[in-house]
């Protein structure tokens, strides 16, 4: 199927992109990897009058530790996360996530910024970034501002950025000592969106969970944190009963819709299992395991 006609711009700098976006605010859409936008345009679910292609903005491609955080340029391809040694070494939750997003061909094009900006609860990065307590950096005509990830997802396919802003960077706080994280996803087949998935990032203090954040994928209209499940963990020593209680809390607080991937009860139960498995792996990693 062929998308509706549009005007195309391919700016060579971020400033040029921003001024085009300002000029056409409301009519224009940013084209990043295109792996969500182009399929939507082919079905004419999206018919933007103007596309601003930011693929030539190579300055927005980087993954590196800066000060107290990992900085990821918005145009970083998913494939680059898989390959990044710092991600592999210090951000196992992010690495777990990167390798289960879509398939290798899609990952060669899809960008981290696009995955988050799209604000699709079926996408895998939103849950992971919620668990990491990441920060989004947006740039607009008035300059740069940071948006805490908890405030970023405002609706289905809606985010907190204005029409004339571009997402330029994601910042993940450097995990403290004794931290661990994991992402567990159940999919019908390789390359599919999750039936349900859970991102867990936690920190241990001796035997007890000092901090925990949990994000869920594809079981709500807006990417969500499982706060009741987090509350089941914090301050407790990890035991089978505590992990089960957290899984059950997540199953109760999520809000899945029935579809081809399953009914509501099934998705809730899978959420329970995904949360439990992620907690168990996160704890093992916090203790120095793989």
């Amino acid at each position: 199927m062929i998308p509706a006609a549009f005007d195309y711009h391919s700016p060579r700098s971020l400033d040029e992109a921003l001024s085009l976006l300002k000029q056409h605010a409301g009519d224009a859409k940013i084209l990043a990897g295109g792996q969500s936008l182009i399929p939507a345009m082919r079905f004419r679910l999206a018919m933007p009058a103007i596309l601003i292609d930011i693929n030539r903005l190579n300055d927005l491609r980087y993954v590196e530790e800066r000060g107290d955080h990992l900085a990821i340029g918005a145009m970083t391809r998913e494939h680059a996360l898989e390959d990044s040694s710092v991600v592999r070494r210090s951000y196992p939750l992010l690495h777990d996530t990167a390798v289960v997003i879509a398939d290798p061909l899609v990952r060669n094009q899809a960008t981290v910024g696009g995955n988050i900006a799209h604000a699709d609860p079926a996408n895998d990065h939103p849950a992971t970034m919620l668990a990491y307590n990441a920060t989004a950096v947006a740039k607009g005509p008035k300059g740069e501002r940071t948006i805490p990830i908890d405030d970023f997802f405002t609706g289905l396919f809606e985010n907190a950025m204005a029409d004339d802003e571009i997402l330029i960077e994601i910042r993940i706080p450097k995990p403290a000592a004794n931290s661990g994280g994991a992402y567990t996803k159940l999919e019908r087949k390789v390359g599919d969106y999750a039936i349900s998935a859970a991102a867990v990032q936690l920190r241990l203090d001796g035997d007890k969970v000092a901090e925990a954040r949990i994000g869920l994928t594809n079981v709500s209209a807006v990417p969500m944190r499982a706060k009741a499940a987090e509350a089941e963990l914090v301050g407790k020593s990890i035991s089978d009963a505590v992990v089960e209680a957290a899984g059950k809390a997540a199953a109760a607080e999520c809000d899945p819709s029935p579809d081809l991937r399953g009914g509501v009860d099934y998705k809730r139960d899978i959420t329970r299992v995904m949360v439990k498995r992620s907690i168990q792996r996160a704890v093992a990693r916090a203790k120095g395991g793989k």
Binding site: F6, S10, I38, P104, V106
Partner: protein
Amino acid sequence: MSEHEVTLTINGEKVTRSVEARTLLVHFIREDLSLTGTHIGCDTTSCGACTVLICGKPIKSCTMFAVQADGAEIETIESLAAGGELHPLQEGFWEKHGLQCGYCTPGMIMSAKGFLAENPNPTEDEIRHGISGNLCRCTGYNKIVEAIQYAAEKLQAADAGGE
């Protein structure tokens, strides 16, 4: 409607064409350049039949606009049998019966070419992950994996011989 002049290198040849912005790269390759080895198997970016290499990386050419390829180097299945001699991947698919109807084959081969360039000596598991963006309705994949293993060995032997 916006028309754009696009200049790119495809299978070593430089071409310049005027394209409408909404033209998908796969349609440009098949219809404007008459290179019909690259297939279209779906409308949902799912099947990988349209896989080509852009600057060495395999991507789905149905999910990119032709204007975006301005300045790029593209390789399609037509580039493989240089001088009429089968590429080791093509030979592998022939020897190991890596195809039945053949519809997925150009995409499978281009995907394999892309990941073998990064990982010349893949495990069976890595091959299976490498082709996980390409669907085959006929073979059950085992013969495709064997075909790629055959090609990997042959390419490595050729590399070792060339040193």
